[in-house]
């Protein structure tokens, strides 16, 4: 591993870990067991580089003139995705390489290889009526012949062409690390710009923001179902705080998931999508329940006379972390998915909003120690570490499906809360929303189908 993870190279370590996980210990297997691109990345990191340098010429358009700059625009989307991944140093805005012109390809890549590029990505977009297809071709610029180390064709309805650029980025990350990127995902959140708190959706990079509720009520706590088809959320649209489920991409009515007296709140889909953990106060005080979506049965998990709420599932579905004040102030507790074996996870402060990493190794939570900040802890209580230290409050983290990024809300800027992203170790914090009104309660979707 020393060859991969050079000392004092945090990103090398990061990539090394990604690769290690992705390759499942394949480092000791025959080289043929991993992709050619992964070999390229390992070799680059072995030289001490922190990131892989990749050049992305403007995508080439086939089937008509590129009068609107589509090839450049899409390549820029892919370039931003790969930069965001933190695995790549990207150079883009380079003239497109004509199709079927090996000399032009060689000329372009020769120049960039000389400038330090390790890889080159060519994209060819073909428009056929209402369908759009992109072919991505990945070249190893560290090899003399610029060998092709990966290629794939991806097709979508022409109206979703921007997703093609995201899917190309996710495929590039897959080729190099063994796990797809997270560019073809969405973020659900709450925005108050209309004067009421409404649910909104946007691409993970902030593009295409659109409101998906307009009931002029209070809508909070959206969470994605694992199949990315639906959102569970709490709304006052009928006066009292009931739990609903909506299908933002389908023409289906909103469903009531729970409409008991009291609060019906804090939903969390189980990893298999068959159940929703939630909070109900129908028995007198807020307790954690699990709703079986097929049968409609509610099973109560907690028994305490005060507050139990904010359940979050482990990726195996075998355990649930939640917030309880049974030890005094709010703390994170763990239990089996049937409610047994309750044990305390956090000790100091006022801790809420646990969110279990899709990789299982970390529970991120919001801790109040003066201001609110994000912390991480292992499910066994180990490796407690602070992820944010201001400015302002930093709360409500939601994991990207690869467990490498978090979206969260912060009021560090004037004007109230907006959404930000960061890497799971708290680095590379950057703004995501700047919309009018406050943006809060982010839920990062699983990868879209």
């Amino acid at each position: 591993m020393n060859k991969i993870m050079g000392p004092g190279r945090p990103l090398g370590v990061l990539v090394g870990l990604v690769l290690l996980a992705a390759l499942g210990g394949a480092l000791s297997s025959p080289p043929a067991a991993r992709s050619q691109a992964a070999d390229v990345l390992l070799n680059v990191l072995a030289t001490g580089a922190k990131k892989l340098n990749i050049v992305i010429p403007n995508f080439t358009i086939v089937g008509g003139p590129d009068t609107q700059g589509l090839g450049r625009g899409l390549s820029q989307v892919t370039a931003r995705d790969l930069t965001f991944s933190s695995l790549f140093s990207v150079v883009s805005d380079v003239p497109a390489i004509p199709v079927g012109d090996p000399a032009a390809l060689r000329a372009t890549f020769t120049n960039f290889a000389a400038a330090g590029a390790h890889a080159g990505l060519q994209g060819v977009l073909t428009l056929r009526g209402d369908r759009a297809e992109i072919e991505m071709r990945l070249h190893d610029l560290t090899s003399p012949e610029f060998r092709l180390i990966g290629a794939k064709k991806i097709e979508l309805p022409a109206a979703q062409t921007r997703r093609l650029a995201h899917k190309v980025a996710d495929e590039v990350v897959l080729q190099f690390t063994g796990e797809p990127g997270v560019a073809d995902t969405k973020v659900a959140y709450v925005n108050s710009g209309s004067g009421s708190k409404e649910l909104n959706l946007m691409d993970y990079d902030g593009a295409g923001a659109a409101r998906v509720t307009s009931n002029n009520s209070i809508n909070i706590s959206p969470v994605w179902s694992p199949d990315t088809r639906s959102l569970a959320f709490t709304s006052y649209m009928r006066g009292y705080p009931y739990l609903y489920r909506m299908f933002p991409f389908e023409n289906r009515p909103v469903q009531v998931l729970a409409g008991f007296l009291g609060i019906n709140s804090s939903p969390a889909f189980s990893p298999d999508g068959r159940s929703v953990a939630l909070t109900l106060s129908r028995d007198g005080n807020p307790e954690v329940y699990v709703l079986n979506l097929a049968t409609g049965a509610f099973r109560r998990l907690t028994t305490y006379s005060g507050i139990d709420t904010e359940p979050t599932w482990s990726p195996t579905g075998r355990e649930i972390a939640f917030v309880s004040e049974r030890a005094g102030g709010a703390q994170i507790f763990m239990m089996d998915a049937e409610g047994a074996n309750v044990r305390r996870l956090t000790q100091a402060g006022f801790n809420t909003q646990p969110r279990w990493s899709p990789k299982g190794d970390t529970i991120v939570f919001t801790s109040r120690q003066g201001n609110f900040d994000l912390w991480g802890i292992g499910p066994d209580g180990s490796n407690l570490r602070r992820l944010t230290a201001g400015p302002g409050n930093n709360e409500g983290a939601s994991w990207a499906p690869n467990g490498r990024h978090l979206v969260f809300q912060s009021n560090r800027l004037a004007g109230g809360y907006q959404l930000f992203t960061m890497l799971a170790d708290g680095t590379e914090q950057q703004p995501l929303t700047r919309a009018p009104g406050e943006s809060t309660s982010a839920s990062w979707s699983p990868r879209l189908p």
Binding site: V90, P98, N215, V256, F260, A294
Partner: protein
Amino acid sequence: MAHRRGSALLVAPVLVLSLFLAGCPKRPATTAASAPPPTGAPPAPSAAAPATPAPAMTPSPAAPATGAPRPAPPAPSEFRETANLKDVFFDFDKYDIRPPDAKTLDTNAAWLKTNDNLVLIEGHCDERGTNEYNLALGERRAKATMNYLVGQGVQANRITIISYGKERPTCSEHSEACWAKNRRSHFLVKAR
């Protein structure tokens, strides 16, 4: 486009060289967030086209509306403000009734016993903390308030509680003075 590549490609790598050799900046200028959006980008995926949810609450086989409310209490919008019932207030992250607020509730209870209204108790929190935890905390405040009134002889079946968590503050400044005003139980009434 082939005829243009000669000059363009000669210039580009010179710019690129400094980027790659500059210690791999976190966000190269060419792809920073300030980069212009794709000029020819099509509108958002049609799959994302927002559809205003139909108001109908038709249950589906996938998720029967098993949680449908029992004999539903009147909608919150049917209750009216009254000057006869005073708010009570709470300490941060607490829902026990403080002695001065108990006196307020004694007065509220006396009025309710001579005025046969239905009453809605709203539980509220300050802006600090999560929506979800505050929803639970507001519920506990409303419940503690209800329990006190019931203890003073007000019939429980006249009382409905609702938690608004941190969602409906009366004071919007970010100060303890303001937060203290928001940590409250508020009363509304409706004629029988």
